[in-house]
Symmetry: D2
Subunit: 381 residues, 4 copies
C-alpha cells in the first residue's frame, strides 16, 4: 500500500489541478535499510524508523497511515493530536472501539481526514452513485456484493510475517470481514444508505497454521469466509459475501443494485466497465449495456486518455488524493471520512457478533459528522 | 407447462432410443373448450375435465401433473393409489406435509415417479455433477445460487387468475421460495449433498394487490424475495437468493461451486455454456474456460446437432422424460424422485420458518428412498 | 439435415397457426435399410429409394431436398417440372449455372420454393433486419461476417464418404465458400443489399487426403479457407471469412453491421442474443446492449417460452417452414427463394473466380424474381 | 502522446530496476506558452521552441519524437546525426521512403532507437508471443486483426488543427492505414513473421471537410477505412481492417491467431485479458479461457499490483521505456526498432498501392537490422 499511496502523491499534481503541491518529506518504517531503499525509489526527502518522530516533526502537514491494522488507532490519534491531517488505510480500526477513538481524535482536532476505501473512486462506481442520486433507479429492492479471492487455500501458508499479517488476527483484527467485506460495506452504504440489521455466518476452513513469530502451529483466529443477509434503512434487501477460498477468483469484487426502473452492476476484474440496464429503454431493445467508462465526460476520465483506453487499479488512489487535497483546501475531509470508516466498523462488528450469536443484530448508527475546520496552509506529505 | 411436457412426450422417442413409445391417450383440464383445443394441437386422443376420471381410466399408465401447486398432492396420491406412474411439476407439495403424503403414496404403491426439476437435465449442469463425482473439485468450500426475475414489479399486476396463480399464496403455497429458490435448492443438493442448517429472510415488496377471484384489493401472502445463508453437511457454506424484483433479469438462474482444486459456474440465460476453472492448469495460463456444451461427448448432446449448435429450454424436459422411461422400464424412478422433491420441501419449509423466527433452523433430513418395484408393462400417457 | 427438416415438419403446426397440416407421406434415400429406420423414427408413411419415384407420386405436394449438393439441381428441376413445391438445402446449386436451371424450373412452373438458409430465421437476426428497415442504423458504412470452424484440421480425415462428402469437391462443388461463406453472403445481402464487386483469396491447407471411394490418397479440390473484401451497392465495405481451420471455434458464424447511428452484432454460438449499440442513447450511458431475445414481442418468440428461456438451432427451421406454409397458401415463395439462392451463388462464383485471377470481380446481378402463382390446394410432404 | 511519454520517463525508474535514471532536461514545442505550462506540470528543467536547438544541446542524450508524422523524419535524422538516441512515435515515416532515411540515419550513427508501437508491451500480447515461440500453437493457419473507432463520423469535424492533424493527409501521410492499421501490422509481424503479399481496399466516406488552415471546405485526402487480405511468409492467411466509422467502438484493437494446436485472442478494450484455447485440453473440457493477466509471473506484472488488479493503457509505454533503457545500456535498440518500423511502412505502402491498383502487391522485404553500437554513458531525456 505504501507504493500505491506514494504513487498517488506523485501522480496527482501531474493529472489534476490541485490546490496543494505534495512534497514527500519523509517516510517511516521500522526496518531502516528497507525504508531507505523505499525513500530513494520514491523520492522521499528523509526517513524515520519511529512513527512518533514523524508525528513530532513540524515540517509535516499530513500523516498517511499505510501500516498494519493494529497500528492505525495509535498513530492516527497521535497525528490528529499534533494537528496533522490524516489519511488512513482501511479498515479504520480493528474494531469500532478503536475507530471511535480515531474519530474522536480527528473531530476534536478538526483536521481533514480520509480512509482509503479506494473503490469509491472507480469511475464506473462513481457513475452508479450519480445514477442513483439522479433517481434513475427509483425505489431500490436489492443490493448484492461479494469479494472473492483464492490465495489462502494452501495449508502451507503461515500466519503472520512478511506480507501475511492479514492472517494474524492479533494484527488484522479479523479476516476477510475487515479486509474484503469492509470494502463491500463501505461502497454499499455510500450507494444505498445505512444498514439497519443483519445476520451473518463466518468460517475458518483451515483451523491451524504455523505462526511466523512463534514458529509453532497455532489456531487460526481470523475468518476465512464471511456471509451476510441484511436489510437497509430504505427497505431493500442485501447479501454480502467475502472469502479467500473461492478458487479461480483473484480479487473479484462485484456489486449489483436493482431498482424499480433500472439496475447497475460492476466488478473489479474489469473495473473500467459499467453494466447498466434501463427498463425505460424501448421494450424490444432492452438489454444490459456494457459501458466502457473511458470517455471524457465520465467521472475523472477527462484527466486521462482518449476514449477506449483504460486506466488501472492505482488510479483510484490518485482520484481520492486529488479529492482529498481539494477538500483539505476548504478545511474539509474527503469521503469516506473517519466517521464513514467508523460506520463500516459498526457493521463489521455486528457481522462478527451475529456469526457468534446466530441472531439478527441491529447495527449501531453513526452520528452525523462534524464539519472539520481549517488546518495548515500548505499540505506536505 | 402442459406444452413443455407434451413436447417432451412427442419428441423423446424421435431423439432417444427409449424402451416405451409414449401414447398421448388423454389430457385433462377444467375448461372443456380449451382442453379440446389443446388436445387437437398436440394430438391427444381424448380429453377429460375431471382428473378423477382420468385417474380411473384403465388405459392410462402414467399420470403427469402440470396443474397448479394446490392440486399436486391430491392428484398424485390418487394416481399412485390407482397404480399409475406419476410425474409431477415442482415444487412437489405446497409444503413438506403435503409432499410427505405424496412420497408415502408412491412408495407404498411402488410406482415410478419423478419431479420436473428440469435443470438437472441441462447438459452443462450434468457436467458439473460429473466433475464433482470424479473428484475434480476436491473439498468444497462454497456454493452460491440465485434465481432472479423482474416480472412482478408492477403494482398493477393482480394476484390469481390466468397465468398469475403463482402470486396467490393459497394456490402456490409460497412465492419465490417454492417457485424459484426450490430449483436452486434441488440442484444444489444434487451437486453438493444435504443442507444441515440455514438462516433466511423473505420480503413482500408490494403488500396488496387486486385479487382476481374476489375482485378486491387484498393482502399479498407470497414472498417476493427470499435469501438464505446455509451450511451443507459437507462443511461448505452457501448463499441462495431468489426474487421477482431484480430489474433486468428475466430468468437468471445462476450457480457456482468452489472447490479446493477447481470451480464451476453456470447460468440459465446461456444454458449451453459451462464456466470452468481448474487450478491444476499451467499457472500462467489459468483462466475461466467458457465451454460450449454442444459436442457429441457432452451429456445428452450426441442426440442433437453438430458441435456449436445449441439446444434450448424445452430439451431439458425431453432429457428427463427419456431418463424416466428408461428408469421405468427397470421399475425405477428417475432423479429427482418424489423423495428428492420432499427433501427440497423440507429446505423451503425451513427457509420460510427461519424468515419468521429470525433464527438458524435445522433442516429435516429425508430418509433414504425405498427402491420402487415393477409396474405396468407399457407406459402410455 | 433430414432430421432438422423432419423436425420442422412435425413441430411447426404444434407451435404456429399454419394454413396447412403437413403430412409426412414419404422419405427417400438410396439405402433401403436406413431409410426404413429413418421413416419409422420420424413417422413417414412410406419410403422410396429412387427420388424419381418420389417425384412421380401424385400424393406428394412438396419435395424437400436435403441430399448432397450434386443432387440439388436435377431433383429440383424434376420436382418443379412435376408441379411440386420445392424446398432445397443450401447452397442452391454447386455453382450459379446449376442454380440458374433451378430458378428457371421453379419460375416456369410457378411453384412455391425456398432455400434453407435458416439463419434468416434466427430471432436476433430478424431483429437486425427490422432495425435496418426502420432506419435505426442510418447510412451503412461497414459489414463484416465470418464463419469459423475447426473440424477438418486433422490430416487423417478422408474426403468423401459418410458425413464427409463436404470435403469432396465433386459432390460439394466447393469447400467453405459454398458451405459456410454462403450463409454469410445470404444474410448479408438480405440485410445490406447487393454486392457490387469483390476480391478474394482461398486456400487448401491440406493438399491431399485419402478418398473414401477410391481408397487412394488424392488431391483435395475444396477450399479449406476463403476470405473476401467487397463493396456493396450501397457503398458500404465488407469483409467475409470462412474456414475450417480456426482452432477453438465450432460453428462461430458472427456478423456485425455498422451504421451512422447504430450498430448490431450477432453470433451463432449464442444465437439468442443480439448485441446493439445506439449512438442516440444518452452520451455517458452509451454501451453495447446484450439483448436476450426471448420476449414475447421479439420475432417468432411469442410461440415459444417465457422470457429468459432460450430456443436452439432447430427452431430456425421451424420458423422458416411456418413462413413457407403461410407463403405457399398465398401462392408465394418464402424468403430466401431460389432466386435469392441464385444471387448467393453468383457471389460465391465470383469469389472462387477472384481467388484464381487475383483481381476484383464484379458480381452478376440477379434479375427481380417473378411472383409465383397458385399451386395445389393442400401441402403435404 | 507527450503525456504518455513523459509519464513513462517519470514512472519507469519507480517500478523497474533500470540502468539509467532519466532526467527530464527539456521539452520542445512551437507554442512557448503551452510548452512552458507542459514543462512545469511534468517537471522538465527547460524548454525549447525550435527542435533544432534541442538537437544541438550537449546535455541531451535521447531525443523523443512525439510530434505529428510530417516532422518525424527530419528530426530523427538530425538527432541521429548529432549522436542522440532516438525514440519515435508511430508510424515511423509518412511512407517507407521517409522511414528508409530514418533507418539509414540511426544505423549509420549506431544510436539506440525504438518506435512507440506500444501494444507490443501489453502483458497479454507478450504472452501470445511467448506461447507462439514455445511452439504451443503449432503451424499457424490464420491471423486476423482490426482496429475500430467511430470518432470521425460527423461531417462537421474539420481536417487539420488542434488534435485533428490526423485528418490532414499532408501532415499524417495517410488516414487509418498509417494510424491504426499500422499497429495491427506491427504486432502481426512480430507475432507471425513477414507478410509476403496483399490486396487491399480503402475508402473515404466523407469526401470534403473544412480545412482549419485555409478555412475552406477541401477534399479529404486520408483514408477513413482500410481493409486487407494477405498471405504471410509462413503460409498463413490474414485479414486486417481499420476504420473510424465503426459506430460503437472507441479503440477496439482486436487480434486473433489460430494455430494447429491452439488459438489466442486479445483486444484493447480489456487489455488485461488474454483469450486462450488449447486443443490439447481434455476433450470435454475444452473451451476458451479468459486469463486475467495480473499475476506476478505474467510478463511485466511483478512490477505492479497483486493478482486481480489491472493496469491501464499508459503502462505499455512504461514497459517499453524500461526495455529501451535496458537495451540502450548494452548499446542495443529496443523492439520495435526503426528497422522494424520501416517494415511496417513497407506494408502500409503496399496497402495504399493495392487500394489504387486493385491488384495483389508484394511487400518489400526489409533487410536484417545491423546491430547498433555503443553510445553515450548516460541516458537523459
Amino acid at each position: 500500500m505504501g507504493r500505491t499511496h506514494s504513487n498517488a502523491f506523485l501522480q496527482t499534481p501531474r493529472y489534476f489541478d490541485v490546490p496543494y503541491e505534495p512534497v514527500l518529506k519523509a517516510v517511516c518504517a521500522r526496518n531502516a535499510d528497507r525504508v531507505k531503499s523505499f525513500a530513494a525509489n520514491w523520492g522521499y526527502e528523509s526517513i524515520e524508523t519511529d512513527w512518533r518522530a514523524l508525528v513530532a516533526r513540524k515540517d509535516i502537514d499530513l500523516i498517511d497511515i499505510a501500516s498494519p491494522n493494529d497500528t492505525h488507532a495509535e498513530i492516527a490519534v497521535a497525528a490528529a493530536g499534533a494537528g496533522k491531517m490524516v489519511s488512513c488505510e482501511k479498515p479504520l480500526g480493528r474494531n469500532a472501539a478503536e475507530a471511535e477513538q480515531m474519530v474522536e481524535a480527528v473531530e476534536t482536532a478538526r483536521v481533514p481526514n480520509t480512509v482509503w476505501y479506494n473503490y469509491r473512486r472507480v469511475p464506473a462506481v462513481v457513475m452508479i452513485k450519480e445514477l442513483i442520486d439522479q433517481g434513475k433507479l427509483g425505489r431500490i429492492f436489492h443490493y448484492r456484493a461479494q469479494f472473492l479471492q483464492d490465495w489462502t487455500i494452501s495449508q502451507d501458508l503461515p500466519q503472520g510475517g512478511e506480507g501475511l499479517w492479514r492472517l494474524d488476527v492479533g494484527v488484522a483484527g479479523s479476516g476477510v470481514t475487515g479486509d474484503l467485506l469492509a470494502h463491500c460495506i463501505d461502497t454499499a452504504m455510500w450507494l444505498n444508505g445505512s444498514i439497519a440489521e443483519l445476520t451473518a455466518m463466518t468460517e475458518t476452513f483451515i483451523k491451524e497454521r504455523k505462526h511466523t513469530l512463534t514458529g509453532k502451529v497455532e489456531p487460526v483466529g481470523i475468518d476465512d469466509a464471511s456471509a451476510v443477509l441484511c436489510r437497509f434503512q430504505n427497505g431493500s434487501l442485501a447479501l454480502f459475501e467475502a472469502t479467500r477460498y473461492a478458487r479461480g477468483h483473484k480479487a473479484l469484487y462485484t456489486l449489483e443494485i436493482n431498482g424499480e426502473h433500472a439496475s447497475a452492476r460492476w466488478d473489479l476484474h474489469d473495473l473500467h466497465r459499467l453494466q447498466w440496464f434501463d427498463h425505460r429503454d424501448e421494450g424490444k431493445l432492452r438489454g444490459w449495456r456494457s459501458i466502457h467508462v473511458t470517455d471524457g465526460d465520465h467521472p475523472y476520465m477527462k484527466h486521462w486518455w482518449v476514449p477506449g483506453l483504460q486506466i488501472g487499479y492505482e488510479h483510484t488512489f490518485i482520484h481520492q488524493f486529488a479529492d482529498f487535497l481539494s477538500a483539505a483546501a476548504g478545511n474539509q475531509s474527503a469521503s469516506p471520512t473517519f466517521r464513514d470508516g467508523l460506520a463500516t466498523d459498526y457493521v463489521t462488528d455486528a457481522i462478527l457478533k451475529s456469526a457468534k450469536t446466530g441472531r439478527w443484530e441491529r447495527v449501531t448508527a453513526s452520528a452525523t459528522a462534524t464539519a472539520v475546520k481549517a488546518v495548515g496552509q500548505q499540505a506536505t506529505v
